[in-house]
Symmetry: C2
Subunit: 284 residues, 2 copies
C-alpha cells in the first residue's frame, strides 16, 4: 500500500486494516543501526513517530498508552522502589513512572539510542523527566540486561516494546519471562504491552501461558483505547510473582498527587473488567 | 484522499485521521433517495457497509456498538416494555433489544428503507429478529414520528443514527430531545450514539446540555471500543426522565439469558467510569 500525498498510513497486513494521519511535513528520516525512524508533523495529532513503517506514537494520543503501562502497575504494587523499563525509548513511560514518589531508581534499557535522541528533539514533553536524579538511561539489549541483573533486586519490570517481530521478538517468550521472574522480588510485577485484544488474542493467550510457565502466580490483561494502533484498542498484560492481581491501592489512586488525562481510580477498576469474548478466551 | 486499490479508506477530515479495510470486491453500490450506499467484501472484517463515504459497520466489529447501544440502557431501566429505535436501519440494534424478554414492542423508524433491504441481503445475521412479532419496521422520518407519538407511551428511545450532519442533524438538538422527553414515561431512558470522546467532546457537551434543557434529570456518557469508527473509540450518551443514572440492574445483567461478545455486568460498570479528561470536561 503506497502513501497518499499528505497522509501517512500504516496498513496492518495481519488484520487487513489501516490507520492514517494527515501530515504537513516529513520532519526527519534516518536509518539507525536497528531500524528506520521517521518523524512527521501532522495537522491534528502533533508530531508522529514511525519506526519501520509502524506508527509508534503521536503527541496527541500517547497519554492512553503511557498512563496505562505505568499507573495500574504502580498502584498495584505495595511500594515499587526499583523499576526497570525495557524499551520505552520515547521516554513517556519513564516520565509517568517518575510521577510516583515511592520510586527510588528507574533504569530504562533501550536498544536504540537514536529513538531517545529524536524523542528529546521532537517530543520534549515526554523527555522532561530524563534529568531526574532517579533516572538512569542505558542503551543496550534489554534481554541481556535483565538476564544479568541480581536476583530479587527489582520491584517492577515494564516491557514497552515494539511488536513481537524483529528486535522485540525475544521479549515475548518463557526464557525472557524467566529472567524477569528471577530479577523480581516477591510480590514484584511485570507489565508488558500486549497488542490488540480484538486481533491479537492468540498472542495474549501465548504470553499469559509463557508467564505462567515462568512461575508468575497471577496474570491480568487490561484493555484501553489507543487510536494510533491497529483497531484503536490496545492492552497491557500484568503478571505477579506471588500474590494476586484482582486488587490495587485504590486509596492511593484516588489521592494521587499528579495529573493524568486518562487514568484514575475508576478507570483502573474499569480496565480490570474483561469483555465477554476475552473472559471466555482467557480462562486459565 | 482517493482510494488505494484494494482498500476502502475513510479519511475523517475533522480529525485528520483515517481508517481503512482491505477489500476483495465492491459487492453493491447505489444511490437511494437519501444517500449513497456501498457494500464491500473485505479480507478480514467480513462485509463492510459505507454510506456517503463513511464507514457504517463491518460484520466483524459491529458487536461493540450494537451491544453498547442497547444492553446498558435495557439493564438500567426497571422494565422497558415499549421501545423506539430511531435510525438503526441495519437492524443490529433491533436484534439486541429483542434479546430482552421484558420488551413487548419495538418500533424501528428508519428513514431509508434501502439500508434495511441491503442489510437483509448482506448482513442477514443482523436481521435475524426482523420477523419477531414484537418488531415493527417503519420507513419514515424519525423526528416526525417521535413528535407525533402519544405522550408518556414509551420506555426507551434509542437514537442509532449517522453523524450529526445531513439527515441526522435534526437528531442532536433540544427540539428533538423535547419530543423524546414528552414521549417517554417517567423513569424512561433516551440513549444516543455520541461519537468519539477524544475528538467530539464539544458535541458530547452540547448534546448533554440540550438533553438537560429538554428536562432530562440525569445524563451519562459511556465510552466503548469501536475499531471501524474514527479514533477506534466511540460512545453513547444516556439520559433519564426522572431518577438517576449511576446504577443498573446488576443482578439482571449477571444472569442474562443471551450471549454477548463484549457486554457483561463488569463491562457495564466499567463503561460508567469516566476517563480523567472526560470527568473534567463534563462536570455539570
Amino acid at each position: 500500500m503506497s502513501q497518499q500525498p499528505g497522509w501517512f498510513t500504516e496498513a496492518h497486513q495481519a488484520s487487513g486494516s489501516s490507520i492514517g494521519f494527515r501530515t504537513e511535513q516529513l520532519l526527519h528520516s534516518e536509518k539507525s543501526a536497528f531500524q528506520t525512524i521517521d518523524i512527521y508533523q501532522t495537522t491534528d495529532w502533533g508530531k508522529l513517530m514511525v519506526i519501520d513503517g509502524c506508527i509508534m506514537l503521536t503527541a496527541r494520543d500517547n497519554f492512553f498508552y503511557h498512563e496505562m503501562m505505568t499507573h495500574p502497575a504502580l498502584f498495584t504494587h505495595a511500594c515499587a522502589k526499583q523499576v526497570v523499563i525495557i524499551g520505552g525509548g520515547d521516554c513517556g513511560t519513564l516520565r509517568e513512572v517518575l510521577r510516583h514518589d515511592e520510586v527510588e531508581h528507574v533504569v530504562q534499557v533501550e536498544i536504540d539510542e537514536r529513538v531517545t535522541r529524536l524523542a528529546e528533539q521532537y517530543f520534549p514533553e515526554l523527555c522532561e523527566s530524563n534529568g531526574d536524579p532517579r533516572a538512569e538511561l542505558l542503551f543496550e539489549d534489554g534481554i541481556k540486561y535483565l538476564a544479568a541483573v541480581p536476583a530479587e533486586s527489582i520491584d517492577l519490570v515494564i516491557v514497552d516494546s515494539t511488536d513481537p517481530v524483529g528486535p522485540a521478538a525475544g521479549l515475548f517468550n518463557t526464557a525472557f519471562y524467566a529472567s524477569c521472574f528471577k530479577a523480581l522480588r516477591h510480590g514484584g510485577l511485570l507489565v508488558q504491552q500486549s497488542e490488540s485484544p480484538l486481533v491479537h488474542l492468540e498472542l495474549i493467550k501465548s504470553m499469559r501461558a509463557a508467564m505462567h510457565a515462568a512461575g508468575f502466580s497471577a496474570r491480568r490483561t487490561l484493555p484501553f483505547p489507543q487510536p494510533c494502533y491497529p483497531t484503536g484498542w490496545w492492552s497491557c498484560t500484568m503478571a505477579r510473582k506471588g500474590g494476586e492481581l484482582h486488587d490495587f491501592r485504590e486509596r492511593g489512586a484516588l489521592s494521587k498527587k499528579f495529573h493524568t488525562h486518562y487514568y484514575n481510580a475508576e478507570i483502573h477498576k474499569a480496565a480490570l473488567a474483561q469483555p465477554e469474548f476475552m473472559r471466555e478466551a482467557l480462562v486459565e
